[in-house]
Symmetry: C2
Subunit: 300 residues, 2 copies
């Protein structure tokens, strides 16, 4: 491996840390009284050796009920069986990335999730990431806006259609007859064109669109009034969010299997949620309308 | 297979249906205004053929916030890969059982879960089941009572110590450093002494102790006053309950994989729950004391 590539790996870690700071600043601007807890943690690898760590930022505020904006840089030995499953050429790995989730208080503001990561297993490199929106109210123009930003970012690389489809297929509660967690966005995994430097540039170019894709929606809906029924629907959709993350999400599995930090991984769960037997929103309500948007469709 | 065994299989199904009725009557007696929704459902098997069904009873009341007391009798073809994993001699299965979960409103009353099932895969039979308690307040005498009832039921068969240990080892949030879901009880799976009729009698003898093991605790704590802090602790423990059920519970997996009925399976989830980053109860509180009981110990 060239020194150049080693420098690029550290450069990617720096990039995600800078992005973490920018997103933190944006959240503080919108929710000045927000409470931020920063945990700098370290881990040991499969052999008990120092294996890197991360910077977890947990937020609780008035606008943002709970949120996690985390970066990590982990490396070292992994379980050989797991290495084999990953397709690596030996049992060492290196990974750096940012992962974030923001659950607002107001049900008129959607939840957002995004992550961008660079992974090396043995001598193999690949990238993964994406961003997806989980709204609780049928403000269709917001869904269109979110998708439009990502379409503009990805289209120069010819990747929007494919990555939008991958997202639609990934964030699905398979045990709920194909109902999605939200309204999608884009998603990619095992991304590797053969030119790692080019792929790195692609991921950075895309990731830096995150702030533009989400915070204008927050500011637009910030003062919109909401009802008890809106909250009840939101909390039930939070329940579906939990179902997806714990039953289907590969990121959660990967984290828990690689001896990841449980609190940093499960920070993705919404603070409050509800489960009711055969929950259905009121007939004729905005929430019933919202239900039909949790299936793949064209937004941009 | 003898006609006798076929009759015993149907007899076991009748037994769990009767137990379902007895438990339903007990819940109505304690919580007269309880709302009961009964769903009689049918399923198709892996080949699309009629595959049995079940009777789901979903409760919502004043004492019991949400509860599910379900019976089912399912049969037919299963995915051959899954049949192999089960160790069956061909790809047909038959299963009957009762599964129940009761989440009370008052945090001074524990949540209870129990199930008893008879399974046939190919020509192989086995039994599974158990009962476990999830309290939210350190009323140690209740934990002792619950374990004592099961110890008395299981000891004549010489099974208490082993099945208590299996339960302690099963209901564990492995991603939470060995913290248990509750304070245990007993649990058994793949139970097969070689004498199916004898095993059947064992399971029935034990299962009919359920009412005695739990409802006296409910009646004792029914009018006990509770605080906002009690509720906050209860809802965070509900969160851990959800984590266990979705990340680790084999019953949930089995149900979702055998084309089970999602709503009947996920009825086990508590109605309201909370997730907070690095949640810890107040220092010196009863809830902090409770935390130390979520690890294996002798209760009876």
């Amino acid at each position: 491996m060239s020194n150049n590539l080693e420098q690029e790996k550290m450069g990617f870690h720096q990039f995600v840390c800078d992005l973490q700071d920018q997103i933190t600043a944006e959240m503080k601007r919108i929710d000045p009284a927000i409470n931020l807890l920063e945990d700098n943690w370290q881990r040991t690898d499969h052999k008990g050796l120092p294996g890197g760590g991360g910077r977890t930022r947990a937020f609780e505020g008035v606008v943002f009920e709970n949120a996690g904006v985390n970066t990590s840089l982990v490396h070292g030995f992994i379980d050989p069986k797991f290495a084999q499953a990953l397709g690596g050429t030996n049992d060492s790995m290196w990974a750096a990335g940012i992962s974030l989730i923001i659950h607002p208080v107001n049900p008129r503001i959607p939840t957002v999730h995004a992550n961008f990561r660079m992974i090396q297993a043995g001598e193999k490199f690949w990238f993964g990431g994406g961003a997806d929106l989980t709204p609780y109210y049928p403000n269709v123009e917001d869904f269109q806006y979110f998708h439009r930003v990502w379409k503009e970012a990805l289209s120069p690389y010819g990747e929007y259609e494919k990555m939008k489809k991958t997202c639609d297929e990934y964030f699905v509660n398979h045990h709920r007859q194909g109902e999605m967690r939200g309204i999608g966005g884009f998603f990619f995994d095992h991304y590797n064109s053969g030119d790692t430097l080019k792929d790195l540039q692609f991921v950075k170019d895309v990731a830096c669109q995150f702030i533009k894709s989400y915070f204008p929606i927050v500011e637009k809906r910030l003062t919109e009034e909401f009802t008890e029924e809106d909250v009840d629907f939101q909390l039930h959709r939070h329940g579906r969010y939990v179902e997806f993350n714990l039953l289907h999400d590969r990121g959660t599995m990967f984290g828990l299997k690689t001896n990841g930090r449980t609190d940093s991984i499960l920070i993705s769960l919404p603070k409050r949620c509800k489960f009711s037997y055969q929950y259905k929103p009121k007939v004729g309500s905005k929430h019933e309308e919202m239900m039909k948007y949790y299936y793949p469709q064209e937004w941009a």
